[in-house]
């Protein structure tokens, strides 16, 4: 009756009697999955932390497009992975990106380390489900530990927000500009938070416009709107309008076109003249109506069916001193109308003054090589923000865009869940310590598994130190020592190359990033552990 008296899963216990099950293939599949997933984790490991390295990714197709990044989610999404388990890891980092926006490398490294421990547990005879269940309990407990370390924060505390944004930026290519970019991200994020829903932040309300030329120093937050296009002034229209009345139109200022097929039949030359005259009158009529409503800036939605404007209509609009921006994308219309606090106009008949938006100044500005249209001083501006990113080459701009996205996500996490936690490997080592001591209270297989997995968490400080060129073993052991003495916030100070109280160094990150990293990594590892076969299907 040994099996019924021992509460622990009998998986570890030696089997009595003869039981024969052919498990060779299953172990093979599981081993292959774990190996593939770990290979992926190892690939991004070196990009972790402020001293992490970047990866250059050349796309395999004709364009041979090159990106340089150290954003885990970006690296993994560009790698063309085939092995199913490896793809699960790539998806894991995408989920972390969606959930928290930052920590996309951390989560993959964590999963890789957990898998390594899982493999040794399996070879020691643990049943995969026992390991998976232990992992689930570990995740729940780890989140409790993290909550215990968290520091509450107020949204009005701008300094703290800036600090956590700069922690996110510190590991990026653009880290030397973190003092510029992080306040920018914080201001942009705070300006779109609706007082009616204080815990919601929709990042779609923040637009990032990238423009080549200048340096990252010239990046600015614009209180208003920016269009990455020129003013259409082929016919010499104005490029600067003060006290603007802006209309967003969804119809076209061009000769009429019907949905039904039609053909105009010209039988003699006199008719030709008449048709040209009529066309002119038609357009003139439209322009007059536009002018009558007091409009002097026209934003025209892009149209695939017919020309949005013709040379002729541009000419009349220029005569009427109306500034024209054409080819506004349809999906931008909502953002534009929200910002300008106006309504889109779909028909000339509905062109009324009450649908217009107002701004102090609309002008075309030269930025680097190109020109952009800037709308500033918008009356009753909606809760949106635009960031104009500048940089000396496309690669830097793209990376700056990704980094800003991360920083904005960090702020969003803090808006959702107003707690911060220390960075620099401090939470991981604290979790590892507390979980290991908790494991001692447990019994049987579970205790053994949790002990192993708790050790696995040390991979984060270890890798941080390794990437910074420090001695990882010395750093991790000292870190453990300091945490054992009760210094909960001791972490790796990469700049000084030693262990300090990381809170004093202003290295902080949102609690949500850490909690979602640990829960997501555990969930993914559990899933990989439970797979025992790969079946090829249609």
């Amino acid at each position: 009756m040994a099996a019924s008296s021992a509460p622990a899963p009998a998986a570890a216990a030696p089997r009595k009697g003869e039981t024969y099950t052919d498990t060779k293939r299953r172990d093979d599949v599981r081993g292959a999955n774990i190996a593939a997933a770990r290979a992926v984790a190892d690939a991004v490991r070196t990009s972790l932390g402020p001293r992490g390295m970047d990866k250059m990714i050349a796309s395999g197709d004709q364009a041979h497009e090159v990106i340089i990044t150290n954003d885990g989610a970006t690296i993994l999404s560009r790698m063309s992975l085939l092995q199913p388990a490896a793809r699960m890891l790539a998806e894991l980092s995408r989920s972390q990106d969606a959930a928290a926006g930052d920590g996309t490398t951390t989560v993959v490294v964590l999963a890789g380390s957990l898998l390594r421990r899982a493999q040794s547990l399996l070879s020691a005879g643990a049943h995969p489900t026992a390991a998976a269940d232990a992992l689930h309990r570990l995740a729940t407990r780890a989140v409790e530990v993290l909550h215990g370390m968290a520091i509450p924060i107020e949204l009005s505390d701008r300094d703290s927000l800036v600090k956590s944004a700069s922690t996110a930026l510190n590991s990026k290519v653009v880290s030397q500009y973190s003092s510029l970019l992080s306040p920018l991200a914080v201001d942009a994020a705070l300006s779109v938070v609706d007082p009616a829903h204080p815990d919601l932040l929709d990042l779609r309300d923040i637009r990032i416009v990238k423009k080549l030329g200048g340096t990252l120093d010239d990046t600015e937050l614009v209180r208003g709107l920016i269009f990455d296009k020129k003013v259409s002034h082929a016919a010499g229209g104005p490029t600067r309008v003060e006290n603007a009345k802006i209309a967003v139109i969804q119809f076209q200022v061009s000769p009429p076109k019907t949905d039904i097929e039609q053909s105009v039949i010209v039988s003699d030359y006199a008719q030709m003249d008449r048709i040209l005259r009529e066309e002119r009158n038609y357009i003139l009529g439209m322009v007059k109506k536009i002018k009558a409503a007091g409009c002097n800036v026209l934003l025209i939605q892009k149209s695939i069916l017919r020309d949005a404007v013709t040379d002729l209509s541009l000419h009349y609009l220029a005569k009427a001193k109306i500034l024209v921006v054409k080819d506004v994308e349809r999906d931008e219309i909502e953002f534009v109308t929200k910002t300008l606090n106006c309504l889109p106009i779909a028909n000339i008949e509905h062109f009324r003054a009450d649908k217009l938006g107002h701004a102090d100044l609309v002008e075309e500005v030269s930025v680097g090589e190109g020109k952009v249209v800037k709308i500033t001083g918008i009356r009753d501006m909606g809760r949106t923000a635009t960031i104009l990113v500048r940089g000396s080459n496309q690669l830097v701009i793209d990376e700056a865009d990704r980094s800003l996205h991360d920083a904005l996500c960090v702020i969003r996490c803090l808006v959702n869940k107003r707690f911060m936690i220390a960075g620099g490997g401090a939470p991981e080592i604290e979790m590892s310590m507390q979980l290991a001591s908790w494991a001692k209270e447990l019994q049987g297989m579970e205790s053994y598994c949790i002990k192993e997995f708790a050790d696995a968490l040390e991979v984060i400080p270890y890798t941080l130190a390794e990437n910074a060129g420090l001695n990882p073993i010395a750093i991790v052991t000292e870190l453990r020592n300091r945490h054992a003495k009760g210094e909960k916030n001791a972490g790796i100070n990469v700049r000084k190359g030693q262990i300090t109280n990381i809170l004093e160094e202003n290295v902080v990150q949102p609690l949500l990033v850490s909690t979602s990293a640990i829960t997501l990594a555990c969930e993914c590892v559990r899933m990989i552990l439970k797979i025992d076969d790969i079946v090829t299907v249609r």
């Binding site: 099996a3 899963p9 079946v535 090829t536 249609r538």
Partner: protein, 525 residues
Amino acid sequence: MDRVLKDDAVEEKGERARMASFIGAMAIADLVKTTLGPKGMDKILQSTGRGRNVTVTNDGATILKSLHIDNPAAKVLVDISKVQDDEVGDGTTSVVVLAGELLREAEKLVNMKIHPMTIIAGYRMAVECARNALLQRTMDNKENTDKFRSDLMNIAMTTLSSKILSQDKEYFAELAVDAVLRLKGSTNLEAIQILKKPGGSLKDSFLDEGFILDKKIGIGQPKRIENAKILVANTAMDTDKVKIYGARVRVDSMAKVAEIEAAEKQKMREKVQKIIGHGINCFVNRQLIYNFPEELFADAGILAIEHADFEGIERLALVTGGDIASTFDNPESVKLGHCKVIEEIMIGEDKLIHFSGVEMGQACTIVLRGASEHVLDEAERSLHDALCVLSQTVNDTRVVFGGGWPEMVMAKEVDELARKTPGKKSHAIDAFSRALQAIPTIIADNAGLDSAELISQLRAEHHKENSTAGIDVITGSVGDMQKRGISESFKVKQAILLSATEAAEMILRVDEIITCAPRRREDRM
């Protein structure tokens, strides 16, 4: 001797044919065997098609229906699992495994030179006996609402415990039971919408009364409407075109073109006016609503939703009690949908439209959140299984215990029968009992337990009258299923028993496999 069949046709006879079908069926059963039970494993399904999509699943029906299969007997097993899925929704793995075990036992008997027909006769007697044995031991708590609810909770938890949702099974069991009880006895699972949104963790999933549509509200339109009157439509909102190819208008001046354009606009305006004339304040269209009508709707203060997907439209019409309209000339004859509040809500990063207080009170939406698409897909499959079983149980309220208990109860009765039956049939009946016991054996094996030890203990327990013993996989011992709250629906168990036996019988009867010649493609060269 002349050939009877066409050139390419292949014929396999007697022993060889039977062998081929046994082997095929058993191979299929062995494939899904490891997914059985609360500690069953998952499989990766890797598609060979474009994109090489990856599915991770533990659902027998999903695995089986996506396999490439060449063996006719294996196809029969795939079919019964599909039928099981359609009929009761759960037990799709068990049915295949049981059929496989029955065939494995049958193979031994055939090797002992027992005629297949004798085996079939024995199996038939055994299945009748097993069903009756199970029927006598069912429990029915139809009268007692509280007890019935706890029965449902137990069933849901048992179903979910073998799936990905096992860690949060109480939470999801609660969700599923709530959703099914809202249906008030109908088995129309269409009224329960499952919406998947990546992000968050599984615990963030929730049940929402009402209906959620994954669409956006048009620009400049109200974001919240109370006491909504909804018109659901499937109509073109650009222009009503003449659908004759080559129809065109000839004009001789630009002004006329402008007139036609204006006329087209006017027609659209009239259509919109007609729609507004229904006295609605929300318009949902399956097709695109273009800028012009959108603005007209915005001016009239009507909330217009464009490009709703087909399923969404049908479900919306169902739950709000409206018709899907495509002409708007007779406002009286069109039934409008109603709901209390329409508003925009945010789940994760996405904005969705929420209809609450809908006409059909049964309707509800379960919003699933999870780390990745894989998790969400698998969670949906699991939840769907639980919902199916629950809705079946609401109709047929008989409940049995789980954890190998029903198999042991049946096996015991079948054993008795074997002892009483004279003749070769008793061998077959005996074999049936062994096949039944294979299910708890596999459950134990999958959990890494010593199955031989556990099953013998279990059998000893069941020798006592009215035992409630089953395998408790969590502690790895024989436990009291009543205390552990592990229950299953009688209907599912019965379906497993009957269809597995039928399938086994069918395969057993086969003594010849004829593979027809493939139809020649005509050479077009």
